[in-house]
């Protein structure tokens, strides 16, 4: 119905081409991972690499049989959702305040915990949480993971908040909004895509982080990712199971990304402000 400009069409083709290229590079290894999880264990490292094979769910079956996969998954979910929520809860207001005041030390401070190698925290945290008897509790894990999620949330949201025209905040102030209200009623709905990105990133980072779980959890509260290591080991690297575990582990973040992707595409809908 509408005439698309001709050059636009070329650009579209070019874009499609790039999309395909990026897709292949990005997805090939992932596809390989999924395929591997469907291969018999020994075939993963077969040479030349096999593309045609009879898929088997054996690895998944074995995974479920040999590990309390579901309960690890529940642990992981609790810890990840907890720490992501905590990160968002603390991070959103902080990012907003930093963007508003342009005073950035709080943002840098929260990042400080990410500047140090994670191993630096192992011993002191172990000592610290042991002192209060929290080793093995979800709380300890959630708190430690929030140290990872918090700076991600803050830093990802900063540019989004910066992008909101000041005068919109000002209008809200004049309308009688306190700063906090402005955050919840005005700023937050406008940075939907930022929040979606922050949530995904925080979730993934927390989900995939194993170091803290290593010392702060015990057998019962161990996370999925920490358990995944069990398939690597001298005398027994179980490739198939490892890939199956990896596939399953990558699933929740993917599902989350798919869920919030609606917010990923919709950015600020400006048209409220001149200039």
């Amino acid at each position: 119905m509408t005439d698309a400009p001709t050059t636009d069409r070329w650009i579209r083709y070019l874009n499609l081409l790039q999309l395909a290229l990026a897709g292949i590079i990005i997805l090939a290894p992932t596809v390989w991972m999924v395929l591997s999880s469907l291969k018999p264990s020994f075939e993963v490292t077969a040479y030349p690499p096999t593309l045609v094979f009879t898929p088997t769910l054996e690895n998944y079956v074995q995974l479920m049989k040999t590990t309390p996969f579901a309960s690890y998954a529940v642990n992981s979910l609790i810890v990840t959702i907890g720490s992501t929520s905590l990160g968002l809860l603390f991070g959103i207001p902080a990012a907003f305040a930093v963007s508003w005041t342009r005073v950035s030390w709080p943002a840098i401070l929260t990042l400080a915990a990410r500047m140090a190698p994670g191993t630096l925290f192992l011993l002191p945290w172990y000592v610290m949480f042991r002192q209060v008897g929290m080793i093995g509790s979800y709380t300890a894990l959630i708190l430690s993971h929030a140290v990872i999620t918090l700076p991600i949330v803050i830093w990802v949201l900063l540019p989004s908040f910066d992008g909101i025209p000041r005068s919109v905040y000002e209008a809200a102030q004049v309308d009688g909004c306190s700063v906090t209200r402005i955050l919840w009623r005005i700023a937050l709905p406008l940075v939907g895509s930022g929040i979606a990105v922050a949530a995904i990133l925080a979730f993934v980072f927390s989900w995939n982080y194993f170091l803290f779980a290593l010392v702060l959890s015990n057998g019962d509260s161990k996370t999925l990712i920490a358990a995944a290591f069990n398939f690597i080991g001298e005398g027994s690297t179980q490739w198939g199971a490892l890939m199956a575990a990896a596939t399953l582990i990558a699933l929740p973040p993917l599902i989350l990304a798919a869920l919030v992707q609606r917010w990923l595409v919709s950015g600020l809908t400006l048209g409220a402000v001149k200039g």
Binding site: V168, E170, V179, R185, L190, G271
Partner: protein
């Protein structure tokens, strides 16, 4: 419902003093219009009153309360922003109801008020739209609506009608005026439109470079401008200025020594000062029936406005404009004889622009 009092206000951006030192008293219930050239600090002043801009020095009172440290949210002021500043994610209805909601106004009342404002501004069909789906003028009206649904201590309007057509502007202007009389709320209004300024204001503040040039009623500002700046700024087309001298018991143009056909009654001050600047508004030229009676000029350009016609011409080395009756049907190249209407001329000091009287 509050007076606004500004004392020794200073506002700087970096080294640049937008407002060097300003004092202003706006009485309760008063309708004050700020006018001044673009960039003179009108918006800044409004934003300071609203509490959106920190003050470099000085004091600000709303009612009896010193509000220097008080955030905008607690000043209970409604404002229309020059750049609209609508909430992009809210529909028009929500944009307008938001402030009321914050105040816990009952739903039914909110609805009534929003509907009323929408009707007044002719934006009922758009209540369900998002700002980005509106035209410029519609957005501006929403911004306006957002303010007038409220019942604040004071309204601040920053060029709220600039994107409306004349007809709508006339209507809205009348409604605002009515509103101000009904609510008895203090109003501060920024506009570039002379008609708006003249028709709405109880008093007009003429600003230049952040300083008050004159603060008086519209008639006074028009008829008795305090200085050459005000005289030149108020009135459209602008007042014509000619350097004149008192020479040989008569007023003559400095440029060519030609005599200015002026009644002597208005020459007193010039007699003392020796020289000055003569100001004549375009509408205060009369076409002299007797050519000898006026100054003969040649028409350079004719601008028919429908109701009137503007003629451009050169006089005493300056380009000048006169507003004449269209029935005159002037044409470029025609010669006409003009004379200032008696008692309608102004004289200013040639150095500092102060009015001479």
């Amino acid at each position: 419902m509050a007076s606004i009092s500004i004392r020794n206000l200073v506002k700087r951006y970096g080294n640049f003093a937008v407002i060097p030192d300003l004092n202003l008293e706006i009485a309760d219930h008063e309708f004050v219009v700020f006018v001044g050239p673009s960039g003179c600090g009108k918006s800044t002043l409004l934003r300071i009153i609203a509490g959106l801009e920190p003050i470099t020095a000085g004091e600000l009172y709303i009612g009896d309360k010193r509000v220097n440290g008080i955030p905008a949210a607690q000043r209970d002021i409604a404002m229309v922003f020059q750049d609209y500043a609508l909430y992009p994610h809210m529909r028009v209805y929500e944009n307008m109801s938001f402030a009321l909601e914050l105040r816990g106004t009952p739903k039914a009342e909110i609805d009534a008020r929003v509907k009323r404002a929408a009707a007044l501004l002719h934006i009922e069909p758009y209540l369900d739209r998002k700002p980005k789906e509106l035209s410029g003028g519609q957005r501006q009206r929403v911004a306006m609506g957002r303010a007038i649904v409220r019942n604040p201590k004071a309204f601040l309007f920053d060029e709220p009608l600039s994107n409306l057509d004349a007809k709508l502007r006339g209507q809205v202007r009348a409604e605002i005026k009515a509103l101000s009389q009904e609510l008895k709320t203090t109003m501060v209004f920024v506009t570039h439109d002379q008609i708006e300024a003249m028709t709405m204001a109880d008093r007009i503040v003429v600003l230049q470079s952040g300083a008050v040039q004159q603060y008086d009623t519209p008639e006074a500002v028009y008829e008795r401008p305090a200085n050459q700046f005000v005289a030149g700024f108020i009135g459209s087309p602008a007042m014509n200025f000619f350097p004149v001298e008192w020479r040989g018991e008569a007023v003559v143009f400095s440029q060519d020594g030609a005599r200015v056909p002026l009644g002597l009654e208005s020459c007193g001050p010039l007699r003392q000062a020796g020289k000055g600047v003569l100001g004549i508004r375009p509408e205060h030229f009369a076409v002299a029936a007797d050519p000898a009676d006026g100054m003969a000029v040649m028409i350079k350009l004719v601008e028919p406005l429908g109701s009137d016609t503007l003629i451009h011409f050169d006089l005493a080395g300056a380009s000048a404009i006169a507003r004449v009756d269209p029935s005159l049907r002037p044409k470029v190249g025609d010669r006409v004889s003009l004379r200032p209407q008696p008692g309608k001329t102004h004289l200013f000091d040639s150095t500092d622009g102060r009015v001479l009287q």
